[in-house]
């Protein structure tokens, strides 16, 4: 039978593998949980178990849901004819935090990268084309990163949708809300200037 210390070390190892955590923060977390078994450890175990049992990808958009269709796709008020295409669920959550978009999403599950062996077949692009035909979509908003891979993926989707009749748009790039020009890098200032609009 394994020693309790081995079990705890294994748990610390599991935490340390999570994004944003290292061995030191993992040790602090485990110690915190062990010192508060009823208030923190057991509720966490139950929450993890519940999520492990119920979390699944939405069959329509790829969001994480507790049912085959997520709340956003199931909500008829969000059938606005607009689909926002994002790279992953974290980006979908970021968009939702902004509370500015009232339509539905489509999670690609990554971006094209030949060097990382991620091709069009590894992304949920065929499902996007199906949805455009079946959901009466009028506009597709490409909310992909301003990286080479993000923009390559955007170009790819744009070409794939060329004959679909939908309006294509992409997020603007430039000065963040509340941002000061002095703190922006040269590339962002250049992008903002190129994307200037009448005032």
């Amino acid at each position: 039978m394994a020693d309790a210390r081995d079990e705890i070390d294994a748990l610390i190892g599991q935490f340390a593998r999570l994004p944003g955590l290292g061995p030191r923060s993992a040790r602090r977390m485990v110690l915190h949980l062990l010192q508060r078994r009823d208030q923190a450890l057991r509720p966490l175990v139950m929450a993890l178990d519940r999520v492990a049992q119920t979390a699944q990808p939405c069959q329509r958009c790829g969001n994480i849901a507790t049912a085959p269709i997520c709340d956003i796709c199931a909500d008829p008020r969000r059938a606005t004819g607009e689909i926002c295409v994002v790279e992953d669920v974290a980006d979908l959550w970021a968009m939702e935090r902004g509370q500015a978009f009232t339509g539905r999403y489509h999670v690609l599950g990554g971006t094209l990268s030949a060097l990382d062996a991620i091709g069009p077949d590894d992304l949920r692009i065929p499902q996007l084309l199906d949805r455009i035909a079946s959901e009466g979509v009028r506009e597709v908003i490409l909310a992909l990163g301003a990286t080479v891979d993000g923009q390559t993926t955007a170009h790819y989707i744009a070409e794939a949708l060329e004959d679909s009749g939908v309006t294509l748009s992409a997020l603007a790039q430039g000065v963040p809300v509340g941002g000061e020009l002095d703190f922006l890098d040269d590339g962002t200032i250049g992008a903002a200037l190129r994307a200037r609009r009448a005032f």
């Binding site: 094209l112 990268s113 030949a114 060097l115 091709g119 069009p120 080479v148 891979d149 923009q151 390559t152 993926t153 955007a154 170009h155 790819y156 070409e159 794939a160 040269d186 590339g187 250049g190």
Partner: protein
């Protein structure tokens, strides 16, 4: 007022165990025998700008042997807004770290301290060797005028590497190719425009009365205006080669001495050196006109191929510009024409350690 380096300390950097120098803004002449550690000082200064420095060495190659403790450079710049402190160092096996005004920052932030241009003996064969060295020289010149140039080059290279992988893997997805070619075309157009603007700036700031002839430099770029379409048409040929055969990554810098109608590669060694010097001086003048600040110049062994008249002309040009120019040479006589217009340092090597002393007339 130009920004100048006022203090520099090298700790365990190559042959320098601990070297401290104080500068007053005048040009700096450093002389000493071969292998005494003169170029190491220039390399240290070049590391106060973004990149790998004038030798393009890795941090581990700059470590003082055999101790291999890591190295550190500490510098103070005198600016219009007061002194700015810059530190850069590397622990053994680690990447280079940077701190400006006691705050950790990125290497790119060093670019905001003082523009810097350099000329090394390794560049003497620039006009004779492959196009890669000339492209690097051109891109470094371009970067001094257009800060976004590095981002464009990185974006272009990334898209091209992705496309090359598709070519080598025999992928035939036209849409994927088109998406990457659009990226290459967008970044490529900016790269070519930036390079052309930089060459135009050099031509505008050439000194027609200088004894250093300015070669007419042109961008030899076969990339068509519609690069995306050309790349699409060229896919079959590129697939056979396993790489992209057209684009600004294949551009070359061509230099012709118009007075003689000769390609730079056909000119004498001294004339080729003179072209480089005239290009560096034109670059410095253009930057001064653009920013109001003369760049720091690092001229390694610059006097070696120059006769006394040309040396004097170079020193006059540097002094007229008000640039802080660091120059190295094997003997003090190479800098005699500078007189009191420059600070002078002597470097010697003893038991593998560089010893530095300032010389006063």
């Amino acid at each position: 007022m130009s920004v100048h380096l006022s203090h520099l300390t090298l700790s365990h950097f190559r042959s320098h165990q601990r070297t401290r120098m104080v500068f007053d803004g005048r040009p700096v002449a450093i002389h000493g025998p071969n292998g005494s550690g003169k170029t190491n000082i220039l390399e240290a200064i070049s590391l106060l700008s973004p990149g790998r420095g004038l030798r393009r060495a890795t941090p581990d190659e700059m470590v003082r042997r055999p101790q291999a403790l890591g190295w550190k450079l500490r510098a103070e710049f005198a600016t219009q807004d007061g002194p700015r402190l810059a530190e850069t160092w590397a622990e053994p096996g680690q990447s280079r770290q940077v701190r400006i005004d006691e705050k950790s920052t990125t290497q790119l932030a060093l670019g905001s301290l003082a523009p810097m241009l350099w000329l090394t003996p390794a560049m003497d064969r620039l006009w004779l060797e492959g196009a890669e060295g000339r492209r690097r020289f051109l891109d470094r010149t371009t970067l001094s005028f257009a800060p976004d140039h590095a981002a464009q080059v990185l974006a272009y290279d990334k898209a091209m590497r992705e496309r090359n992988r598709l070519l080598r893997d025999g992928v035939r997805d036209a849409r994927w190719f088109a998406a990457l070619e659009a990226q290459m075309a967008e970044a490529g157009a900016r790269i070519t425009a930036n390079r052309r603007a930089a060459l135009a700036a050099l031509a505008d700031h050439a000194d027609p009365d200088s004894p250093f002839p300015m070669a007419e430099m042109t961008l030899d770029c076969t990339a068509p205006d519609d690069l995306a379409s050309a790349l699409a048409e060229n896919r079959a040929r590129d697939m056979a080669a396993g790489r992209s055969l057209i684009g600004p990554h294949r551009a070359d810098l061509r230099a012709v001495w118009t007075a003689k109608g000769m390609e730079a590669a056909q000119c004498s060694t001294g004339e080729q050196k003179a072209f480089l010097i005239s290009a560096i001086l034109a670059n410095a003048r253009a930057l001064s006109a653009q920013t109001g600040t003369a760049p720091i110049l690092l001229l390694d062994e610059v006097a070696a191929h120059l006769d006394a008249a040309r040396r004097a002309a170079l020193y006059d040009a540097v002094c007229a510009m008000g640039a802080q120019c660091f120059m190295t040479g094997t003997g003090p006589e190479l800098f005699a024409e500078l007189g009191l217009r420059a600070q002078a340092f002597a470097v010697a090597e003893k038991d593998g350690v560089s010893q530095l002393s300032e010389e006063y007339p």
